[in-house]
């Protein structure tokens, strides 16, 4: 090998020395630790992926059927930059309403996105490009990746009060104050239902007030809806907050995900929509969203989108999906009742009503990091250190064990 090549190669050895090892992802690190644990009693209530009552992951029957229909029949050509038109159409109906006038009037700019993450990121990039002086208000707490997304999009972020630790509920007055005190025209990130990680949702009446104050300040409401159908078991009910905002005339944005409610986690299927003044604006906005998608991944993956459109455009498959979503939601609601019941039966001095007041996949238990560590070290129970319990990991087989352990570390 000639000398100049060696010199050049050696010269380059310093380029990556300064790269620091990145910290492990806090949520995914929990599952890694769980997998490494040999104890037969171990319980994983860390990651937010649904489990059946045997603690097993689930592939929905409607999804299996859709995959059977898809395989061998179609080609794998590129989707348009905006993704599957059919999938997007059906997805908008879920969020905006089956017979939404807004859809008929073509006022919604919408593109297929890489699940909820991708939808939020596309919107954040779009916000940065077209409202470069704006900032995003993010609830405390929220899914940790929200902060990463808007940071990488270079949108300055602020927080607003949301969770009230003392009541393990909504810090409503403080939230309204923050909305009122934010500069006019700020962007607000709202969890449409089943707030992650707290499970604390505003009531319908509170949503109306939130809508009123956001409107009064000319803020932009961006909804992250990752659990439609998964929260109450009824997709229409879970979209209530969005429908209130639409009634009130907001021009909202929505990130929708099929990761949980269709169990399509790894397929990365979602949708970003932005409600515009009119069709012309919607066309313009959609074209600009595509301009952001093209240098990121060119066009979105086809397989998951096909599964979704196959299911939602077939009345029987859609009915089956709705049934299966209700089963998942009901099981979780049942586990909430069981966990709370067990804790009360054990004579815990604390109040556990928040377990059944909260909704969706997660329960913000109120456990301290030290108590969580004890649960892990003494009882082989794995959860994130903020005390978030993934109810999907709770089964009739482990709920008593879990309740006992929680009681032990909190009595």
């Amino acid at each position: 090998m000639d000398r100049t090549a060696v010199v050049g190669a050696r010269y380059m050895s310093s380029w990556w020395r300064s790269v620091q090892p990145a910290p492990k992802d806090p949520i995914l690190g929990v599952t890694e630790a769980f997998l490494a644990d040999q104890s037969p009693d171990k319980v994983n209530v860390g990651v937010g992926a649904y489990r059946d009552d045997n603690g097993k992951p689930v592939v929905l029957e409607c999804v299996r059927e859709a995959e059977r229909r898809i395989a061998g029949n179609l080609n794998m050509e590129y989707l348009p930059m905006g993704g599957s038109v059919k999938m997007v159409e059906e997805t908008l109906k879920l969020a905006y309403g089956e017979n939404s006038e807004l859809i008929k009037e073509k006022r919604i700019a919408a593109v297929q996105a890489l699940s909820g993450t991708g939808a939020c990121r596309l919107f954040a990039d779009f916000q940065k490009r077209f409202c470069p002086d704006s900032q995003i208000y993010i609830p405390v707490p929220t899914w940790a990746n929200h902060h990463n997304i808007w940071r990488d999009a270079q949108v300055p972020q602020k927080t607003y009060h949301y969770y009230h630790p003392e009541s393990k509920g909504l810090h409503f007055a403080a939230m309204i104050d923050d909305i009122k005190n934010a500069p006019n025209g700020s962007f607000f990130l709202l969890h449409a239902c089943a707030h992650n990680p707290t499970g604390v949702d505003p009531s319908e009446e509170q949503w109306r007030e939130i809508s009123h104050h956001i409107k009064a300040k000319g803020h932009f409401a961006f909804f992250d809806m990752a659990y439609q159908g998964f929260a109450s078991g009824d997709p229409e009910k879970d979209a209530k907050a969005i429908r209130i905002f639409l009634e009130d005339g907001h021009h909202i944005g929505i990130a929708q995900s099929y990761a949980k409610n269709m169990g399509l986690y790894g397929q990365r299927v979602g949708c970003l929509s932005v409600l515009c003044e009119d069709e012309k604006q919607a066309v313009a906005v959609k074209s600009q969203l595509q301009q952001l998608a093209r240098p990121m991944y060119s066009n979105p993956p086809v397989h998951g989108a096909l599964i979704v459109s196959t299911i939602l455009s077939d009345p029987d498959l859609k009915k089956q999906w709705l049934k299966e979503v209700k089963v998942m939601a009901d099981r979780i609601i049942g586990m909430r009742t069981a966990l709370r019941g067990n804790l009360e039966k054990l004579g815990s001095p604390l109040s556990w009503q928040h377990i059944t007041n909260q909704i969706g996949m997660f329960c913000y238990s109120g456990l301290t990091p030290e108590q969580v560590d004890r649960l892990t070290n003494e009882f082989h129970i794995y959860m994130t250190r903020n005390g978030r319990i993934s109810m999907a990991g709770v089964t009739t087989g482990n709920v008593e064990y879990l309740a006992n352990a929680i009681h032990e570390v909190t009595k």
Binding site: W16, G118, F130, F172, G266, R268, E277
Partner: protein
Amino acid sequence: MHPDFTSPSSSSSSSADRRLNALVRHLATASMVSQTAVAFSPTSGFHGDSVFSHVVRAPEDPILGVTVAYNKDPSPVKLNLGVGAYRTEEGKPLVLNVVRKAEQMLLNDKSRVKEYLPIVGIAEFNKLSAKLIFGADSPAIRENRVTTVQCLSGTGSLRVGAEFLARHYHQKTIYIPQPTWGNHPKVFTLAGLSVKTYRYYDPTTRGMNFQGLLEDLGSAPSGSIVLLHACAHNPTGVDPTLQQWEQIRQLIRSKALLPFFDSAYQGFASGNLDEDAQSIRMFVADGGECFVAQSYAKNMGLYGERVGALSVVCRAADVASKVESQLKLVIRPMFSNPPIHGASIVATILKDSNMFNEWTIELKAMAGRIISMRKQLFDALRARGTPGDWSHIIKQIGMFTFTGLNSKQVEFMTREYHIYMTSDGRISMAGLSSKTVPHLADAIHAAVTRMS
């Protein structure tokens, strides 16, 4: 307990007032509401203004826009030579047999669960992809100096790599060949790099401007990033010879430039996987570092499944591990983890020696058909006595031919002959068949003789 927070859903001690106000607001008409204490800002949605009113419609993507225009054309003789997607002799898209097989295997495996992949994707897929591009015996792999992460096809791999460089590399400029794939500059710019060009294509010879390339890379600041098409340059089809690659390598290493390879056509160019990876392997063999974006869109026909991989070859194993951890921080806020379906198909095929062999045969057939189309077009132009030297059609390699036609001639061909292609004169040979070659030859002949 604080009176305000007796239950999670109650508000303040004036909750009765709040409820009453809420009711009033919703019963009141718009004008009544505006007379209450609440002030509406001028930008409020209530007045019907969107904060995105100023957004103008973006121009059509020049490449994908060609297919849009083609679809609108009712002519029975229309030809789509725009997008680089392979077509059979019958003009149909092709799903490889081995891909169908792999899909069925995955479908029949009831134990398969489609949960979230790790941030870096399927481990097996990553390992096999690295082996495929670097060679099973690559010292870089043996020494654990390579980190490979699953990404969304070539585009996604380029973007993730570029974002990493923009954050962690001391030089923020990337040199791209003139011309290059239209999406390259956008990918790098949005990632935070600044883009410069180096001479590459010589329109007079329709071959390489090698002197220009050496000069431009030679005068690039030390450490600059250099984008290299591993094989089958898009859009020109003009590749360096092995000797020229060696010279490029020496120049790059002597100036400590950082090579970033875009490998979108491995196996598709010559028909041979190892041959098409030679340029990359040459660089890895000298012990230096590089980035490689790999795509399975064309060579496995997995276009819409968005399957690809980004590999970073480092000088040391611990460095590769640190780099991987930082790549994860780029990926997580972009899409969290990559799509499972396409990569599962690739892993299924690559790890089974029979399926791998089947794949190489189907790949050779695709590459062979394209080489045959080149020959047929060249012969057809010669037969018509079309003025000019058309030998570049058979000298260039890969999916595309840079015809040398100018935008006026292209416009003419679209208007009069319903030929759809990009205005830079690039045609996708994959879109041709024995049946349609004569029509294209007629169109080129007419364009060259009637328009200049």
